[in-house]
Symmetry: C2
């Protein structure tokens, strides 16, 4: 797209580029360049124009635009296509519709805000401006009973990216990342499958970054660090960790991912109460198996396998 090409020229130069130079480089008229520069300014880019020297990029908007997310991203697969919305219903739904129509693996759908953001089991998930709300289309070729491994993998990737910022991020089984006991990221994995093979997985991630959160059980990167952070850099960092972990999962299987998961887990070893399909189980969270199920040791010594559920960490089983 011409707009992206102009942006690339301005970025690479880091100084004034003349309209004539850009027009030559892109094979269009100077008037066309001016039109696109105006469009960029409407998108929130700050561009100085000078009669003799041309245009200079002086500010980038706080938006997760495809050009910005892809600019400098080290990935081959995840993010090779990025779709951006200022507002949409739910990035998972949009990504699913695209996947149904055969869009490439690695496509990332990002929204500044969602008006029907959702969590597990159709629950509402509040997504205000300033967070990272994105969904990735994956085609891992696994069977449906191993789809939970994608959730656990993503929890590892996000945890690593948050730790690079200096946050003590940990994972709460099955699909949350916590900092100081509060939720900073939720993950929702959905799939389309035949009975024995997954056609595609939609990996949805919501990360509280510079946004406000309505609940005191949730926190944000900004609150934890005491400053606003660069959402673009964090989004890129998450996508890069994700690519690394996904390739590991695909080439070496779930075992190496699971080792990292255990390392960052806040659930293992703890007394927990898990609710799944109306049943509540209390016990000690012992391990996670190769399908991502939680193994809970009951007070009678038996071990129960739980595919998924709502997990509460307890101080003690007698609580």
């Amino acid at each position: 797209m011409a707009k992206d090409e102009i942006l690339r020229l301005l970025r690479e130069k880091g100084d004034y580029v003349s309209g004539e130079q850009m027009a030559d480089a892109l094979g269009v008229s100077r008037a066309a360049i001016w039109k696109q520069v105006q469009a960029l300014m409407r998108d929130g880019y700050e561009i100085e124009s000078h009669q003799n020297r041309g245009y200079k990029l002086t500010g980038i908007p706080d938006r997760l635009y495809p050009f910005e997310v892809q600019y400098g991203l080290q990935n081959q697969l995840i993010g090779r296509k990025v779709v951006h919305f200022n507002v949409t219903g739910s990035t998972n739904i949009v990504a699913r519709q695209m996947a149904e129509r055969g869009i490439d693996e690695g496509t990332v759908v990002i929204a500044e805000t969602q008006n029907r953001g959702k969590g597990r089991l159709g629950r509402k998930w509040v997504t205000r401006q300033g967070g990272i709300w994105m969904s990735v289309v994956l085609k891992p070729g696994i069977d449906p009973m191993h789809a939970a491994s994608i959730t656990l993998m993503a929890a590892v990737s996000v945890t690593k990216a948050l730790r690079e910022l200096g946050l003590e991020a940990v994972i709460k089984w099955p699909n949350d990342v916590l900092v100081n006991g509060k939720k900073i990221c939720g993950i929702l994995t959905e799939m389309s499958a035949e009975t024995d093979v997954v056609n595609f997985v939609i990996l949805g991630m919501g990360i509280n970054v510079n946004n406000d959160v309505p609940l005191d059980t949730a926190t944000t990167v900004r609150s934890e660090l005491g400053r606003k952070v660069d959402r673009l850099k964090l989004a890129q960092s998450i996508l890069e960790e994700l690519e690394e972990d996904y390739i590991t999962l695909r080439d070496e299987g779930f075992t190496p991912i699971l080792w990292n998961w255990r390392r960052y887990s806040d659930t293992l070893g703890r007394p927990v109460e898990v609710t799944y399909q109306g049943e509540t189980i209390r016990g000690i969270a012992q391990d996670v198996d190769d399908a991502g199920s939680l193994l809970v040791k009951l007070p009678d010594g038996n071990v129960r396998k739980i595919v998924s559920g709502d997990c509460n960490h307890l101080r003690s089983l007698k609580q």
Copy 2:
């Protein structure tokens, strides 16, 4: 719909009904009745009109129209909504799109022909005029690893309906119904799911009835019986068996279904060769477990569980 109401009046009377009587019953003009009668005739209905006596239904088209499928159908759930296409890409895809938008459980999508009919793993499935090509939206509330039970259930339902016609139908694991060793029906179960719960299942069924088949490994009801059969009656019979089995599955679980499946199985006890994800396993098909997986006893005495795959029946393991 007024067209359906006129059809109902004509059907119930079984003789001439005057235009005036119908206009009164439906609260419309006689001209409106005549317009709808013409529309019915364009749909293939044979209707005699007589200046004084009115209209009389004398012939029903060989089409699986919603009104006809629902007329006299004994079901509460499956078929309460029926959508019909003369031609569509794939009834599974249409049903899935409707399910994504929240359509009711039990909706049936029927096509006279499909131009992109599909079998397991995206394989082409030829669907010519004269067969029954339909997909049912189900919301069984099971977890993804038990979705195969829907395939096995449907195989039982179709087998029962074909046996009512006098055919010696048997089931070949995982998703075919055979008569005299040839395929008469294929089943394709697809799902949309989170990692631990199925949002909805699309149960697709293709039954060779009065159509031609391109392969000599396939057969049709017409070839086996030596006569054309009433597709509408067979479709209704399948939907009624399906409702009965689905309610059993929901209320009593998979065990009673599995007993019937074993009874009609042509696979159990046989030497088989199963190919799944590039691996080929030979052994004796011993049983099916509660998730629909095939248990194969290998020559070394070990038992392998196979979630799904392409299964060939062998004469002997030494073949």
